[in-house]
């Protein structure tokens, strides 16, 4: 005679119930992670502009501070300067044709004297900070930036050191023929530097901050990176790549997103809220080409019910200098979710596979049954 507990232990450990192991387990999981990572980037990239020469403003405050309210803001304010928000319309997302950059033979390596900083942009998604470094060919002939430069930093007392970086390839792989970056005079090559969050084991853990940072090119010349890099959780670096024309021409990436949403939402019910696109510059910013947007509910880093991408209702096509335009938003909240009722609502502009970090914002809500 045996107890049911013993029977359970026996059938639970019966090798005949084994599920066959995967022959390619690591690659299978990595492949899935790539898909998730791309979705996160698409839905979560926040941006802030910066104008200094190759200035990489890396502090969390710059990236998150003014653009991402940490707490929900009560009942939506439905007007700005006396103008109501643009009504929500359910418009299917615009899918730009697949990007195929023209084939180019590698040219002679670009030298430091032929390059100048053309600005850059930063963004954040799912704990990852993206810093797109842009350098422009100011020389008189086509040249090539290939591979990854060295990232140097200054360590007090010991001088210049080479920082360890890990290869990342999402942005560079977004378009065919993007690497190496063979650029004509006037064109820019981009490079993605990533820093990460999420590796902290206790709130008091010290950050590893790199200062005096420069990129050292193959010819020994350097591209200075202003400000600092937080290397606490590692640094990722892409190869130099040539951006797609779409990425280079999107005028609305400097817009700042603010979400005004109720503090709570009901599972299984539509959530209505307002997104404000603010123009921090003095000159108007065109909302053309009309962007898509993705709204996503997530808990503990995992998306709930998948992100929903639609095209913005671009009946207003310009945000005036120092002005703002509001858009009504609507999202169906899944029912039956039970992990953690504290969820994040992310809203991000998007456009195809653009390498440019996109304006976005995140607020936190409580889901109620």
């Amino acid at each position: 005679m045996t107890s049911i507990e013993d029977d359970l232990r026996r059938i639970f450990t019966d090798p005949r119930r084994d599920v066959p192991a995967w022959p390619d387990a690591a690659e299978r999981i990595r492949s899935g992670m790539r898909r998730r990572h791309r979705r996160r980037i698409t839905i979560g990239a926040a941006s802030a502009t910066f104008a200094t020469l190759i200035a990489v403003a890396v502090t969390v405050g710059v990236v998150r501070g003014p653009t991402v309210p940490n707490t929900p803001v009560g009942t939506p304010s439905l007007s700005l300067s006396g103008v109501g928000p643009v009504p929500w319309r359910d418009i299917l997302p615009y899918v730009p044709p697949a990007t195929q950059l023209d084939q180019r033979q590698s040219a002679s390596p670009c030298r430091g004297g032929e390059l100048s900083g053309g600005g850059g942009s930063t963004g954040a998604a799912a704990g990852t900070q993206f810093h797109i470094i842009k350098v422009r060919n100011t020389g008189s002939h086509r040249c090539t930036l290939a591979g990854r430069p060295e990232l140097l930093y200054t360590e007090p007392g010991t001088g210049t050191r080479i920082a360890q970086t890990s290869p990342v390839d999402y942005f560079a792989a977004a378009a065919a023929n993007a690497t190496p970056a063979t650029i004509d005079p006037g064109e820019s090559a981009w490079l993605d530097l990533e820093t990460y969050g999420g590796c902290f084991t206790n709130p008091g853990q010290a950050h590893v901050i790199l200062t005096g940072n420069v990129l050292r090119l193959a010819d020994g010349s350097v591209v200075p990176l202003a400000s600092t890099l937080d290397a606490t959780c590692g640094i990722g670096m892409s190869e130099w790549f040539r951006p797609t024309p779409e990425a280079a021409m999107l005028p609305w990436t400097p817009l700042v997103v603010t979400i005004t949403a109720p503090a709570t939402a009901r599972m299984g019910q539509p959530l209505e809220y307002v997104v404000t696109l603010s123009n921090p510059a003095d000159t108007p910013i065109a909302i053309t080409p009309c962007p898509n947007y993705t709204q996503t509910l997530a808990s503990q880093g995992a998306t709930i019910g998948g992100g929903v991408t639609r095209q913005l209702n671009c009946v207003v096509d310009t945000v005036p200098g120092r002005g703002a335009v509001q858009f009504e938003m609507r999202l169906s909240v899944p029912s039956g979710f039970m992990d953690d009722h504290r969820v994040s609502l992310q809203w991000a502009l998007s456009f195809g596979d653009s390498a440019e970090p996109m304006p976005s914002a995140t607020v936190f809500l409580t889901l109620e049954p």
Binding site: M1, T2, S3, I4, E5, D6, D7, L8, R9, R10, I11, F12, T13, D14, R16, R17, D18, V19, P20, A21, W22, A25, A26, R28, I29, R30, G32, M33, R34, R36, H37, A126, T128, S166, P167, V168, D169, Y170, A173, Y196, G198, C199, F200, T201, C233, G234, G236, E239, G301, A302, P334, S335, G336, F337, M338, D339
Partner: protein, 169 residues
């Protein structure tokens, strides 16, 4: 060029060495080998993207198993409203004694949370308190679910056992 986020090569080693055990665990939790693969895939992807934060304090495997359990319970709750036809039964494993097969099917017919409690208690050998932490519920809920589950199994199986149900270890 490989894409690297938070997960170094050490994560690949973890996947290679532990995914088979995780597949088995997921199979016990959900009762379906195909869904088990989906659950493990989901759990490992999520773990990989947060690897640096989960590997340091402790063995990451309990974290991954917790994702599997909660993902299944969440999935089961969502699907409950959608299910219109009976489940396709898992094929019978070859050469399994009849009583074991009956018990397997009886376990498969339990509500997901009750089934999860049994797996955590009698496969993972967790205490009721540990099982409660994995499930995100109270010890009392674990006790009541375990009690009901065993009672249902007793009712579903031919009378055979005489040993009473054990308590908290």
């Amino acid at each position: 060029v490989g894409v690297v986020w938070d997960a170094p090569g050490e994560f690949d080693d973890f996947v290679r060495s532990r995914h088979a055990a995780l597949l088995r665990f997921a199979h016990l939790i959900c009762g379906d080998s195909h869904q088990a693969e989906d659950l493990v895939q989901e759990a490992l992807e999520r773990a990989g993207l947060r690897w640096r934060s989960i590997r340091r304090p402790e063995d990451p495997e309990p974290y991954v198993r917790r994702i599997i359990v909660n993902a299944h319970l969440s999935f089961a709750r969502r699907r409950r409203r959608e299910r219109l036809v009976a489940e396709t039964p898992e094929p019978t494993a070859p050469d399994v004694p009849e009583r074991d097969e009956q018990l397997w099917r009886a376990v498969a017919g339990l509500p997901p949370r009750q089934r999860a409690v049994l797996v955590l208690r009698y496969y993972e050998d967790l205490t009721e308190a540990e099982a409660a932490r994995v499930l995100g519920c109270s010890i009392g809920t674990v006790k009541s679910n375990g009690f009901r589950a065993v009672a249902k199994l007793r009712a579903a199986l031919p009378a055979q056992e005489t040993t009473p149900t054990g308590g908290e270890r």
